[in-house]
């Protein structure tokens, strides 16, 4: 795919803005954006599995596993953040493998139901296993993130950590999507029988996409745990899992930028309602509006507006980018 100079310039501007945010905005904005970055990691890491045609409505379960693993290792055993984050991510991926291996043979709605059951199961375990997780009283006093022995005590340093994590995750996911692996995932999502007939081991590649997503959800969870420093099982339930899915659909599934745009747009716009019942209503309305008016998602908006502009001005100019 040819990357136009325009896209590159836009990326540099966005990156410069994000890097300079601590010099402009207060702690509240740093806090808000660090959470947006977490949501972007969650949203983008669901994409490979969606590309394979598997509807995963339980992604927040793997965030939960990453969060509790990292928090408990750091709090109870004094494991440094870098290590506990990695442990959380690896455990999330391992559980993903264990769940995915038997259930990814199911397709469509059957697989979706397994993931729904799983996210509820994980939430219940976190609520019930009181001696370890403190249950619904919540796990408090999670240590702040550290880096090479230094505690990242300020919001600014934590903000940069979140930005760094997000950029690394996105870069890896981007490279994978634009490699043979990404092409194989796409082929499985389009016609899995044809992919098989070309020698693709569909089960293994789908499992890889799924557990890779779980790994990065674990990363997001681990960062979240040390950033918010308080874990509460109901936060990782079905609602968050559907939100992650909605990020993908509202942003658009046709392009790598879709889940990123969707997560950023919805997290920022729903900020006034966060934690209130209106949040769900807001998400539902945006989701419905997208399906009705913009089936390709928000990333189709520029193209659509350009089309309207051309037809309104009555001139035809072929668009420069597809």
């Amino acid at each position: 795919m040819p990357r136009s100079a325009g896209t590159a310039a836009a990326l540099i501007v966005v990156l410069a803005l994000l890097l300079s945010l601590p010099f402009v905005g207060g702690d509240y904005y740093l806090y808000l954006f660090a959470l947006v970055f977490t949501n972007i990691i969650l949203s983008a890491s669901l994409r490979p599995s969606l590309t394979c045609g598997q509807l995963n409505i339980g992604h927040s379960a793997f965030m939960c596993i990453g969060a509790y693993t990292s928090a408990l290792l750091a709090k109870n055993l004094g494991v440094p953040f870098e290590v506990s984050l990695l442990c959380g991510a690896v455990l999330a991926a391992a559980v993903g493998l264990a769940i995915g291996y038997p259930s990814l043979r199911l397709r469509g709605v059957y697989f979706a139901m397994v993931t729904v059951a799983f996210v509820e199961a994980v939430r219940l375990i976190a609520s019930i296993w009181v001696p370890l997780t403190r249950g619904n009283a919540g796990l408090s006093g999670v240590p702040k993130p550290t880096l090479l022995g230094t505690t990242l005590a300020t919001r600014t340093s934590q903000y940069y950590l979140a930005l760094f994590l997000m950029l690394v995750v996105l870069l890896v996911l981007y490279k994978l999507e634009h490699s043979r692996l990404g092409l194989i995932w796409k082929s499985i999502g389009m016609v899995d029988t044809l992919a098989q007939s070309l020698g693709v081991n569909v089960a293994n590649y789908t499992l890889l996409a799924f557990s890779l997503g779980c790994f990065f959800a674990g990363v997001a969870g681990a960062f979240y745990a040390h950033f918010i420093r308080f874990l509460f099982p109901p936060e990782f339930g079905f609602l968050l899992a559907t939100n992650i899915l909605i990020y993908n659909f509202v942003g658009g599934r046709g392009h790598f930028a879709g889940p990123i745009v969707g997560a950023a747009f919805l997290s920022l716009l729903s900020e006034p309602f966060r934690g209130s019942p209106y949040e769900t209503i807001f998400f539902s309305i945006v989701m419905l509006a997208t399906i009705l008016f913009l089936p390709g998602g928000l990333i189709m908006l520029p193209g659509k507006l350009a089309g309207l502009w051309r037809s309104a001005s009555g001139t035809y100019a072929p668009s420069g980018h597809a």
Binding site: L176, S179, R180, L183, M190, S197, L198, V202
Partner: protein, 253 residues
């Protein structure tokens, strides 16, 4: 020893015997046609040979090894590759990407190269895929989306993808159905060239002119059983075969 040898191949769907006791042998370098009225079990046979269905009974021996019940991607790994009826393609990918997927099994590229290389695909793989497109006459369409190709080209692209997998044995499911005389002539010439380059071919086709003109040997199926076998001339004058085709038509009319 034949390249492909099925013994007693049988597939039941509930009470229906879609394929029963079929013995099919194909020697290396042959072009064999598999024909029969609708519902005779041709496609089921293909699905059994390519591993998409597991036979109820019987064995499939390919290249001297038993491949019965192997999963599809394993069978492709042995060099037995199939195409699909109609236009089963990755419609939203370019012709080149479709063929690149066909090369899947022959790619040697590890994770470090994926993460740290600037190129999406190694140049030698892309070059080989362009060669395959060139060979099948799609060279100038490499960067068009599969969905935007004319019907005839889409069908040929299906064959090109299978070729990229470097088959020893190619199963073609209705390669020229829905094509005009000129197009089908070109595709059948392509099929002959593929054979001359060393790939054995078994094809299912309803276009009798194409089958009779290309295949050296023809196997006729009817109601899941082998009805006749022989050269095109033998088969087309076989009274049983004529009855199977015309009789079925009269019954349904």
């Amino acid at each position: 020893m034949p390249l492909l040898d099925t013994r007693n191949l049988t597939k039941h769907f509930g009470g229906l015997a879609a394929v029963s006791h079929v013995g099919l042998t194909v020697d290396e370098g042959e072009i064999v046609g598999l024909i029969g009225p609708n519902g005779a079990g041709k496609t089921t046979c293909f699905n059994l040979l390519s591993g998409f269905l597991r036979p109820t009974a019987g064995t499939i021996v390919f290249g001297g090894e038993d491949i019965t019940g192997l999963r599809p991607h394993r069978i492709v790994g042995r060099g037995l590759v199939r195409t699909f009826q109609l236009t089963t393609l990755f419609q939203d990918m370019t012709a080149l990407e479709n063929v690149l997927l066909g090369m899947h099994l022959h790619s040697r590229r590890g994770l470090p190269q994926v993460l740290f290389s600037r190129r999406r695909f190694p140049p030698d793989e892309v070059a080989r895929c362009r060669e395959v497109l060139e060979f099948t006459g799609l060279g100038s369409h490499a960067d068009r989306l599969a969905r935007n190709l004319p019907h005839g080209h889409q069908r040929v692209l299906g064959i090109a993808m299978a070729l990229a997998a470097r088959p020893r044995f190619l199963l073609l499911d209705e390669p020229v159905t829905g094509m005009n005389l000129e197009e089908s002539g070109r595709v059948m010439a392509l099929v002959k060239t593929i054979r001359d380059r060393g790939t054995t071919i078994l094809l299912v086709e309803h276009n009798m002119r194409a089958v009779m003109g290309t295949c050296e040997r023809i196997v006729v199926l009817n109601f899941g059983q082998k009805l006749a076998e022989g050269t095109p001339a033998e088969v087309s004058t076989n009274p049983q075969v004529i009855e199977a085709y015309l009789g079925a038509g009269v019954e349904r009319a």
